[in-house]
Amino acid sequence: MRAIAKFLYGRRGFYLALLLLPPLLWLGTVYLGSLLALLMQSFYAIDEFTARIVPKLTLATYRQLVSHPANVDIILRTLGMAAAVTVMAAVVAFPIANYMARHASPRMKAVFYVGVMLPMWTSYLVKVYAWRLVLAKQGILFWFVDQLGLTPALDAALTTPVIGGPSLASSYLGMFIVFVYMWLPFMILPLTAALERVPQSLLQASADLGARPGQTFRNVVLPLALPGLAAGSVFTFSLTLGDYIIPSVVGAPGYFIGMMVYQQQGTVGNLPLAAAFSVVPIILIAIYLSLAKRLGAFDAL
């Protein structure tokens, strides 16, 4: 052992390489290799008569992707949902994060921390399933709304075009609620971390200089919380773009990118189209990340 240690002394680069080699080899071949394979598949096309993949590089699949108005609809629908979910998650998360970061006693803070973390780590499928129970026609939410005498309001919401549907469990409104619920912890945690880093003295200084609470919030707290908001939104945005379980369980009729990917590779057997579809969220996320990076999102990750 000593001999090895002695040999490595002063060969720090060699030692680092030795440590990094196994994980890099794994991620480099398995993960990057797979991403390359994905990219390659997206440049293949399916033969319309034999329904077999033709391993020849072509842009035909991408042409198919952008020339069908239905496909463009799917992309826009997914993008719209991701944006709406991100905004709503930020609105709901802010009071919680703010309370955790600045007002809660250490004990209360621990309660909130575990309270946010546990649902976050609770089985994803079970949570989706639970929402199906909650949103179902005779389910708990309808019962509550009925008890409160708000059934007309719910009916009005469900008859609203676009977001409505026969029941909450099969409307975009219901899907939207489930998405916000699922990714909410991913927004709360970075936001809390960012708010915790705002020094108390800044707020006092602002108040001392004559700012009213609302002004302090707008001019001091919000700009400093922005990196956390950006970091959280990367999660909510990216997770919504790629999800295919929620739209298929709590479903409205329209397709989402993730569902298309899953269906094209599975039942339809058109792996090239599935691959091309999955390149779309990668591009969207890359654009979003570069925007978030400008807001300093990665300092809060």
Binding site: Y31, M40, V92, H103, V126, Q200, L203, D243
Partner: protein, 271 residues
């Protein structure tokens, strides 16, 4: 430290407090709904409130061999994937904790990518590679996918702890005559053990629950989440689904709570 000045926006108003607690309740209600429904006597609809409560469905579920088989597969996949993630993630954390070199950022990005990109990308990418390479899906293709996104969990936990370890402890140990292995065993390992364990548990929980990638990488094998996913579209056995849902919640809660306890900052760390 809290200022009590009336002008301070910071004093929590009743409305702010209410919003915070309402948000927390929102996060928890569905979990409790699941618990409630596991005991309902109604077996066809999602009727609320339940007409009656019963323990019957637990017995029915426990007698189902397909559930046990799925559970066994999920546990073995999670074990193997976690072991691989601990090994690879720890190595990476040690290499990256205190070093600076060209390309370091790119390597860090590579580790984070599997969880930064949506799971569906990892899934379809692995599937594309398996198809191109002619690899038949099975136990090891599932493990491959899980290990890939678990590495970063262990890596993040361990590197956070390593960065809090003063470099001088390692130097002091070497200075006093300990070689690399002794320094690791007597100084570093006791300090990072809990982080390692916590990372491992989170990785285990993540793998145990994974569905999005697994649906792409599994063949005919059914992990517990896949079994559950199929049940969602087969509503006849709804009470059994409810029971499995509660069991899964309880099983995953254990490693999560343990991981939380293990990584909570303790006194001696705050020098």
């Amino acid at each position: 430290m809290r200022s009590r000045g009336g002008r301070d926006w910071n004093a929590a108003s009743f409305g702010q407090k209410l919003a915070a607690f309402a948000g927390l309740a929102f996060l928890h209600i569905p979990v409790w709904v699941i618990v409630l429904y596991a005991f309902t006597t109604e077996d066809r609809t999602y009727q609320f409130p339940p007409p009656g409560l019963t323990l019957r469905w637990f017995a029915v579920a426990f007698a189902r061999e397909d559930i046990w088989a799925a559970l066994r597969l999920s546990l073995s996949v999670a074990s193997v994937a976690t072991a691989m993630a601990i090994l690879l993630g720890t190595l990476a954390a040690f290499a990256l904790a205190h070093s600076r070199f060209r390309g370091r950022e790119a390597i860090t990005l590579l580790f984070v990518l599997p969880i930064a990109l949506p799971g569906i990308i990892t899934g379809i990418a692995l599937l594309s590679a398996f198809k191109l390479g002619g690899i038949q899906p099975g136990f090891w293709t599932i493990v491959t996918g899980h290990a890939t996104f678990c590495i970063v969990i262990v890596h993040n936990n361990v590197i956070a702890r390593l960065r809090r370890l003063p470099q001088s402890w390692v130097e002091a140990s070497m200075d006093l005559g300990a070689d690399g292995v002794q320094t690791f065993r007597y100084v570093i390992l006791p300090q990072i053990a809990t982080a390692l364990l916590a990372g491992g548990m989170l990785a285990f929980a993540l793998s145990f629950d994974e569905i999005i990638v697994t649906l792409f990488t599994a063949g005919h094998e059914q992990t517990l989440p896949i079994w559950f996913f199929n049940e969602l579209f087969r509503p006849r056995e709804r009470p059994i689904t409810n029971v499995v849902a509660v069991s899964v919640v309880l099983i995953t809660m254990v490693p999560i709570l343990l991981a939380y306890r293990l990584t909570r900052p303790r006194e001696f760390e705050s020098k």
